[in-house]
């Protein structure tokens, strides 16, 4: 907040007026006339200005704000640079335009170099348009998110007789290749698996990187144990459909390992053209055209108003944040209660369960006070004090003896009761 709130203490009542019979000099405790006039003379110097000027103040402020301004400038520069150098790089896994280790630009480029036309389709409509244009093209279909519904899959099934499916899910297989069944994920993602079949492409490749999903089909290659105990194939084929259980072999990162490249090129490069179709959210059922931008529903003046209110908020901060002069400093006094040492000692006793020690203290104090009360010298023996106490209070000497000279209590519970008894005895001595 803007100012230091002064804590108000309950004001002490003004000291009562001096008694009438007091000498006049006593009343001079207040301000003495000589002092006051001297102080007034010293304070009579009028102070005008703070020795500065508007320009000096401005320069000082600027100098003080310079580090903050520099920091803001650096941050702004970094943000602007980041915005300027940002690229719309394709980072979708398995995308033919993605040059990172998870992309598949290498395969796509080699295929293009070999004369295969690679078309990257992002919607079903794109894919079908490309097919209509290119005729008997191979379809590469990768939809790990399952964007396409059954109807769209059937349409795909009708349009492309020859296709390569990258790790298809069970619903996709049901429509596109009902003969191929999923056999779960592969047990071991490392190492390579051997072809182990007579299919030409597989034999040529020899070995490929293991892992991914496994399938069982009429034609199986690259069999490996599945995680759930059975076996399955990384490469399954039926009719014109080829399933690649591990689409990772197509990526830039692993295409050079084992026979990955051979299998990829022979599978994908079978036809003259390849339609590389990776469905996106645009394919979601019912999505027709780009989604409506909710901002467009707002009236025109909203942006201006928001900016204006932001400015108003800044002004309000300036209004409330500008302090009327420096904070008042209060040198705070030390606040230590004198009994704190006793309290601390009590907690030490309690912490270490010093029952005997506490009892000895209580007893010694009672004895010394009783001796003083009974007019016995401080050096008198305990037995003498016990005797005198018994006489004074009329209690039995044995009882007084057990309390004042007997064995002290040993448990905390006894201590409290015993201490109370001591106190009662003391009261009795004082009252009788």
């Amino acid at each position: 907040m803007s100012r230091h709130a002064a804590p108000r203490r309950a004001s002490t009542p003004p000291p009562s007026a001096l008694p009438a019979d007091l000498p006049a000099a006593l009343t001079a405790a207040g301000p003495a006339p000589a002092d006051t006039s001297a102080a007034r003379a010293a304070a009579a110097q009028a102070i005008t200005g703070d020795g500065g000027s508007v320009a000096a103040t401005g320069r000082r402020r600027l100098r003080r704000a310079l580090p903050g301004l520099l920091l803001a400038f650096v941050i702004a520069a970094v943000v602007v640079l980041g915005l300027l150098t940002r690229t719309d790089a394709d980072t979708t896994p398995l995308s033919p335009g993605n040059g990172t280790p998870t992309g598949a630009r290498a395969v796509a480029q080699v295929l293009e170099d070999e004369g295969v036309e690679v078309v990257h389709a992002r919607t079903l409509a794109d894919a079908e348009a490309a097919r209509a244009r290119l005729g008997g093209a191979t379809l590469f279909f990768s939809d790990p998110n399952g964007w396409l519904n059954e109807e769209q899959l059937s349409s795909l099934n009708r349009s492309f007789p020859s296709r390569v499916l990258a790790a298809p899910s069970e619903p996709q297989l049901l429509v596109l290749a009902p003969e191929i069944l999923p056999a779960g994920p592969a047990e071991d993602a490392r190492g390579t698996v051997r072809a182990g079949c007579t299919r030409e492409e597989a034999r040529a490749a020899g070995e490929i990187t293991g892992g991914g999903q496994l399938y069982s089909a009429p034609v199986e290659c690259f069999n490996s144990p599945a995680a759930d105990g059975g076996t399955g194939a990384s490469y399954a084929a039926v009719g014109g459909t080829v399933v690649l259980g591990n689409p990772g072999i197509l990526t830039n990162g692993t295409i050079e390992e084992a026979g990955n490249a051979s299998l990829a090129l022979s599978t994908l490069g079978a036809a003259e053209s390849l339609i590389w179709y990776q469905p996106t959210t645009a394919d979601l059922a019912g999505a027709t055209g780009p989604p409506a931008n909710p901002l467009q529903l707002l009236p025109d003046w909203v942006n201006t108003l928001m900016l204006w209110l932001l400015g108003c908020a800044l002004l309000a901060m300036l209004w409330r944040g500008r302090r009327l002069g420096p904070l008042a400093v209060e040198p705070l006094p030390v606040l230590v209660s004198a009994a704190e040492t006793a309290e601390g000692r009590a907690r030490l006793y309690q912490g270490s369960r010093a029952v005997r020690h506490a009892a000895a203290n209580l007893r010694a104090a009672t004895l010394s006070r009783a001796a003083a009360r009974l007019r016995l010298p401080p050096s008198s023996a305990r037995a003498a004090v016990v005797q005198a106490v018994a006489q004074k209070t009329g209690r039995r000497p044995e009882d007084v003896h057990s309390l004042l000279d007997g064995p002290p209590p040993s448990t905390e519970k006894d201590l409290a009761r015993w201490a109370q008894q001591l106190l009662d005895l003391e009261k009795e001595i004082n009252n009788s």
């Binding site: 019979d21 405790a29 009028a46 002004l315 009994a339 209580l362």
Partner: protein, 430 residues
């Protein structure tokens, strides 16, 4: 420079044209209008750098009494000064209206009065005066902080002076009293008067009785012009609070009462505040103005968080008074601090002077001692008993070394110390 709430309000009103006439134009126009208003205000505001500030402040005030700090604002500009003025007194000065709006016509002087009700003894300060000069439109203001520092010396309240009349009466009763048991070197012969029943027969002056043919007794008056040296301990032990008052403040009350009483008893009073070095000193030379000199010297005293060096106290006392004096040490009887500090030097002091050690006893210890309901209470009672026993032991040791000990509760200490002084004076031991 500062902006006002009015500017923020006007800026918020600017939202209206922005909504009614879409586009950036109304915003730009409105912002331009506001900027123009601010510029006009800044240009037309009276320059706070050309306003003279003069302070008029009582140099001292007693704790518990209010006073008025006056600021005289001289407007040397050619324009009317509309300003918010703040006199930033520290919170314990109890300034009720430290921030005021003033309006001073060109060339005029304005008295701004800040009422103060100090809540603490000591030197209270206000470092500066801040002027915020508003423009005629009230949208923006120019602000300057002027280095016009002020300090107010808040004197100890001397609440114990209510004990003074009764103690003075007792002191006067010593005058002219027949020497009953106090015959000795300490008292001086005063006058002769007729015997009344009850007078000590030993004080009958037979020679005078023979001349007058009536029984005449000698009267004595207490000795005068003795020296009383009050030493106030301002070391760490004086910071401890007993009954929500530091030991130091209780000591100040006791010292004031004793000093005034001793002065009226015709003795010379010197005051020292000491821990490891001298913090304040008032000489017996300040005859008529002793109380004033004392409260002024005591006002800025604060407990210093260091251990007292008692070994230097004999030298300090010797520098004040080379003769036998009544030395009153206002300190604490905490075991440990006393055994290491005071005990070794005490024999040297008591050999030359009459030493009274006055200390504040903590009533809280006795409260703790009397509650024994649970085990925790019993431990607390045991600890309190231990503290009290230690105190007793220290007191006994001090008494053995020839010192008088006054160990009382905070409210009782000043009158008991005064009583001790009267008793010693009556006994002629000064």
């Amino acid at each position: 420079m500062a902006v006002s709430g009015r500017l923020v309000l006007l800026a918020l009103l600017g939202a209206l044209p922005i909504v009614l006439f879409p586009g950036a134009l109304p915003a730009v126009i409105w912002a331009g209008l506001l900027a123009a208003g601010v510029a006009v205000d800044l240009l037309l505001a009276a320059s706070p750098r050309r306003v003279g500030v003069r302070r008029d402040l009582p140099a001292t005030v007693r704790l518990g009494e209010g006073c008025t700090g006056t600021l005289l604002l001289t407007n040397d500009t050619g324009r009317t000064l509309r300003a918010t003025v703040r006199d930033p007194w520290q919170p314990s000065a109890g300034a009720a209206n430290s921030e005021q709006r003033v309006r001073v016509a060109a060339g005029r002087v304005h008295r701004m009065e800040v009422s103060l009700l100090p809540a603490r003894r000591g030197i209270l300060t206000s470092d500066s005066v801040t002027l915020r000069s508003h423009g005629p439109l009230g949208l923006a203001a120019r602000q300057v902080t002027l280095p016009a520092a002020a300090e107010l010396r808040v004197l100890p309240p001397f609440l114990s002076k209510r004990h003074l009349p009764s103690k003075l009466r007792r002191l006067r009763e010593l005058d002219g009293r027949a020497a009953v048991q106090i015959r000795g070197a300490g008292t001086e012969f005063d006058s002769l008067r007729d015997y009344v029943r009850g007078d000590d027969v030993r004080s009958i002056d037979w020679r005078a009785s023979a001349r007058r043919r009536d029984t005449v007794v000698r009267t004595w008056r207490p000795e005068r012009d003795r020296r009383v040296v009050i030493v106030l301990d301002t070391s760490r032990t004086s910071a401890a609070r007993i009954a929500d008052e530091p030991r130091l403040d209780t000591g100040i009350e006791a010292a004031l009462l004793l000093a005034v009483l001793a002065q009226h008893g015709g003795d010379k009073v010197d005051f020292l505040a000491f821990d490891r070095r001298l913090r304040a000193r008032v000489d017996s030379g300040a005859k008529a103005n002793l109380l004033n000199a004392l409260v002024r010297a005591m006002a800025p005293l604060e407990p210093e968080l260091i251990e007292a060096d008692f070994s230097r106290i004999p030298a300090q006392i010797r520098s004040v008074s080379p003769h036998r004096s009544l030395v009153v040490l206002l300190t604490s009887l905490d075991s440990g601090a006393v055994e290491e500090g005071l005990l070794p030097v005490l024999p040297g002091l008591t050999a030359q002077h009459l030493v009274v050690i006055a200390s504040v006893r903590d009533p809280r210890l006795e409260e703790l001692r009397a509650v024994r309901g649970t085990a925790a209470d019993a431990y607390r009672a045991a600890a309190a008993e231990r503290a009290l026993l230690d105190r007793e032991a220290v007191t006994a040791q001090l008494k053995q070394l020839g010192a008088e000990v006054v160990d009382e509760h905070p409210l009782e200490l000043p009158p008991r110390l005064a009583d001790t002084y009267i008793r010693l004076k009556a006994a002629g031991r000064l």
